[in-house]
Symmetry: none
Subunit: 272 residues, 2 copies
DNA sequence: ATAGATTTTGAAATAATATGCAATATTTTT
DNA sequence: AAAAATATTGCATATTATTTCAAAATCTAT
């Protein structure tokens, strides 16, 4: 067997079992313990695997949380900043519709301290608030979409159709002059229902989402009141959105103050 | 077993039970007390765990989980046994309504390996199955009832009213000749809807629930097909239920084989 | 193709680490 | 304060890593 093939099989195996002893791995790839050890030191340096006494483990296991959390490392600082800025746009005692997705989740984390009524189809968001006394959480029904922990299907759409909320905090796969798009067509119906039901619509979009189009079209820019993004968002794109009448909040984070931190909406009270 | 795996299992276990004795932990990871002690000092330095006399406890009661888990130490062995026995009564490919509550939660844990369709208003149960590929989970809508992580209110009732399922796995606060009762009046409407929607109704009730009446009346015994309980259930109470035509499964656990393990339904295929 | 160079592999010897046991010290309970 | 339960420490043993080296495999240049 080739070295590369061995490496692949070792990683796959660990992906499945999370922990494995040297002996186990050696048998699995039919190589000697020495070879596997060498493979492991190599794989460890790639970062996906960690050597342990007597074997190895996967570094980032299929967690009991949602795949969700593993994606969460992407643009973490940015998402945190966006989350904080977005939370500032929500006032106490408002009713808030919260979309699924990691960026929105970060916004949710910053809302914990406020007394609010939350409506969501995201299990991570629901779990987050489940034990917070001063927040009432309404969970829409639906079928769990495994990787994301979102509730989808007619139950969810109907639930939002029946609701009315002050704000909707949304996420998406991309934004451009043509509008907002998302990668999961299943979610589109639900997100539309969310937008319809909210008086004010806020989109949380990190800088990687700008001028990008995902597979499924969600809505025109007109439906959006506010976009919250981070300091790395391309300035000209931000200006395009502002020219279209959207409020754009650029959240500063860790030394990246945002090209127009002072000029931006950060000083404005809230959308109006 | 590798050290790392042991550490993870110790943390997981503590996550579930909140506190565990040294002996308990040693048995659980099949290592000596010394080793577990060393593991605990190490885990303590990571901050997630605190050593105590005679064992260890979780430092951060996983606030994103539910209060739920703290109650879980009560009759843990019994509930585990009941859960296992109850899971045996559910066949592959059936649709299963799952109630909230710790005992039902344990039953859910034993269902993970089967291909099923689950309908539930319990967030812990939903989370449990969220990442399991071969199980489709339908979550009813509703408002989160904080301490328990249950979805309550009209959304939940309506969702169940619209459903039909093969089995309902239920929990309750007490059972007596007069019927089943529960401690949370809010849940009664929902539980009735669950029972109505299921072809077969199974109640999971540990021995402390026998001949007890909680504040809210749920239903007569006639609505129940099967009761799953543990070996410490009072024999005469079990007989009363059997005389009323209910199937009673007495689950054996750790040295308590149940007064009538052989005579009980454990040999029967399933309710009919 | 073949000889030589390079890399990879497996196996030994040696070093490091983890484990379990027992003796001693500490804390908790009565 | 004494007794019971639990912790800590030190040590022998067992397990696992690392290093080293020779054989096998792969590659390269003629």
């Amino acid at each position: 067997m080739q070295a590369e093939e061995r490496h692949k099989r070792i990683e796959e195996y660990l992906q499945r079992v999370e922990f494995a002893s040297l002996e186990e791995l050696a048998r699995h790839v039919s190589a000697s313990a020495s070879t596997v050890r060498r493979d492991l030191t190599l794989l460890e340096s790639c970062g996906n695997i960690r050597r342990t006494h007597g074997g190895a483990r996967i570094i980032n296991p299929r967690s009991d949380e949602f795949t969700f959390s593993s994606r969460d490392t992407q643009q973490l600082a940015e998402k945190e900043a966006i989350g904080r800025a977005c939370a500032d746009l929500v006032r106490v005692r408002e009713s808030v519709i919260m979309d699924a997705g990691t960026t929105v989740y970060h916004a949710a984390r910053h809302l914990e301290s406020k007394a609010l009524q939350i409506v969501t189809n995201s299990l991570p968001v629901a779990n987050l608030f489940a034990s917070v006394q001063h927040i009432e959480v309404v969970v829409t029904g639906g079928v769990i979409y495994p990787r994301l922990g979102v509730l989808v299907g007619p139950l969810a759409v109907e639930a939002f159709a029946k609701m009315h909320a002050d704000v909707a905090v949304m996420g998406a796969g991309g934004i451009s002059v043509d509008g907002v798009t998302n990668s999961h067509p299943l979610l589109i119906d639900i997100q539309r229902a969310m937008i319809e039901s909210a008086r004010r619509v806020i989109f949380c979009l990190d800088h990687t989402k700008f001028d990008r189009r995902s597979v499924a079209f969600l809505c025109e820019l007109d439906f959006i009141d506010t976009v919250v993004t981070d300091g790395l968002a391309p300035a000209e794109q931000v200006e395009v959105l502002r020219a279209r009448g959207l409020e754009v909040v650029v959240a500063a984070f860790e030394g990246v103050p945002g090209p127009n931190a002072a000029a931006s909406g950060s000083a404005l009270p809230v959308a109006g």
